[in-house]
Symmetry: C2
Amino acid sequence: MKRNSPHPTLSQVARKAGVGTTTVSRVINGGDRVSPKTLARVRRVIETLCYVPNLAAQTLKGHRTKTIGLVVPSIADPFFASCAEVVQAIARANDSMLIVTVTANDSRTEIENLNLLIRHRVDGLIIVPANSQSPALRELLDRIAMPVVAIDRPVAKSAIASVVADNLIGAQTATQHLIDHGRKRVVCLTGESTLYTIRERISGYRKAIESAHLTPIIDTSVKDYKSAEYAIKSLLDGPNPPDAIFSTKNSTTIYAFEVLQRFNISVPGTIALLGFDDFELASTVRPSISVIQQPVEEIARRAAEILFEQLFDERKTGSRLFSKHPQPIRMHTRLIQRSSCGCVPQIS
Amino acid sequence: MKRNSPHPTLSQVARKAGVGTTTVSRVINGGDRVSPKTLARVRRVIETLCYVPNLAAQTLKGHRTKTIGLVVPSIADPFFASCAEVVQAIARANDSMLIVTVTANDSRTEIENLNLLIRHRVDGLIIVPANSQSPALRELLDRIAMPVVAIDRPVAKSAIASVVADNLIGAQTATQHLIDHGRKRVVCLTGESTLYTIRERISGYRKAIESAHLTPIIDTSVKDYKSAEYAIKSLLDGPNPPDAIFSTKNSTTIYAFEVLQRFNISVPGTIALLGFDDFELASTVRPSISVIQQPVEEIARRAAEILFEQLFDERKTGSRLFSKHPQPIRMHTRLIQRSSCGCVPQIS
DNA sequence: CTGTTAGCGCTTTCAC
DNA sequence: GTGAAAGCGCTAACAG
């Protein structure tokens, strides 16, 4: 037995074509400096043998794996799924493959994932940090000499470039919009307030409320339908029931909507509803739900582009440049006016 | 300059620890046959240097990349996103990473993706074939000596294992259910009838209709809201307006729902609606929409498990076994009874 | 234009 | 227990 691997090797091709290995190498790398005749012959042999270059071997020399890593909390989440789709497209356009790993927002899992990706010697990394503040993450990322771009949440105190939605201004706009509709008691409904994005959104809400000299009412207890029901019920039964809800994320918006629907509370009549982040059926439900829309694709695209720029610069200069983007790049959000805030009269 | 790579090498570790490379190799591979003292010392050096084994080099010897490829039409699609999530989890549990590529259901892109994955020498492949019938795909897959499992759609005339939903029986059940509700004119609304899944679902519809001695009414023209509107309007204005709609996929169900809502047609009063494939807000909209639910996670899990079994067998026996699963594995679907078919009285 | 050759970082006999 | 040495498949000088 000569070879047990199912894949023919470059030198087999060389032998069969009656040329040196260098020539074959040149052929598979574009075919420069090879005579047309030889080129054609080698190409034919490659076809015949179904030869496919072994990337591991190329990597061992060239130091590029043509793979980038994407580290997200979840793939099933529509937001991150869209990110993944865009990133994979741009990776492909740059002759790279995409390895996806999921963290479930757990810092330990995240570090594990990163170490695995480092083992795989990915050329670069796009990451949605489980915890923006984590020192362990910052250190790891600063240590590895590899282009990294953060998405959706920055890495605090680090030089790592990041692309995020303008959560603060988005939330401020949302809240202000509710106020402009004449609402005086706007409650901010939210869960997990440890996440960077959520904290920013709460700040935006606060800012709008304060500049309108209203009282902030923040309920951070929503994590499922049950808790949403309890929260809303309590608020409604209280001394000063709210007349509007600003919810800081998708699932919260949906729970709130379901509770309101269940209790037959008129929306936007009795309570106006405005959520952060758009979702597929927001315009299909009745009333349709107004939201702050994040430019998901743009965020992912921008991040991927920055990553490949860094990769390119690195290859040209031979060493890592300091980030051109020390500050998070904030992408504009958009207010989508539908019925639940009182903008569009209900159709049916 | 000695080393420009940011990563220390095994032999650097060996030198610094004052041992041979073999020993270090043993340490990073579990530490068997190494004295506790040496082991501890080497481990310390590894820590200090932040040494991470280079997978490319290991691969070059051991012939395993610890990566598997997933080829799907889209990542943004919830169905495939869920698949990806599950597959990545199982890959991780088997010490492998997941490379995801997307085809947009285009056969050419699919072949390209596969070739790239082969270059990367992935250990195995999970694929959602763009076209079940494609001979090019079948040949490529049969040629490469690598475990492959198809998901959602089988690869026709090949020995490749596949895990799919039981589309035919699911659709038959759906249609029968509508008939059981006393509906006599059940229309099947669909688009792209070239896809395996859709064809199967149409067959299931046919089967149910025929055994009830009713007339099949199939409209394959739905691809967006506009076409759905036109289709439904035409049907409704025709001589024998339908009293029920069975839609073969998510987007079609949603378009149909929106059209019905827009025209203020009572559901399920005038027209009952039942769709194939569940979706997030199906129970939130009013009326809530009854659907045939596919066991997405189970399908993906089963496929991934089979893949890793094959991988394991291959490693043990040193060669590829013939598939233990020549026939597609069909996973049971489930009828979720909600309001739109007439099962659950509307709440609000 | 083309071939020879020396490794890339690791695993693995095989001898000590 | 441990190490020396021979490659895995490929690229990149360097010499023809």
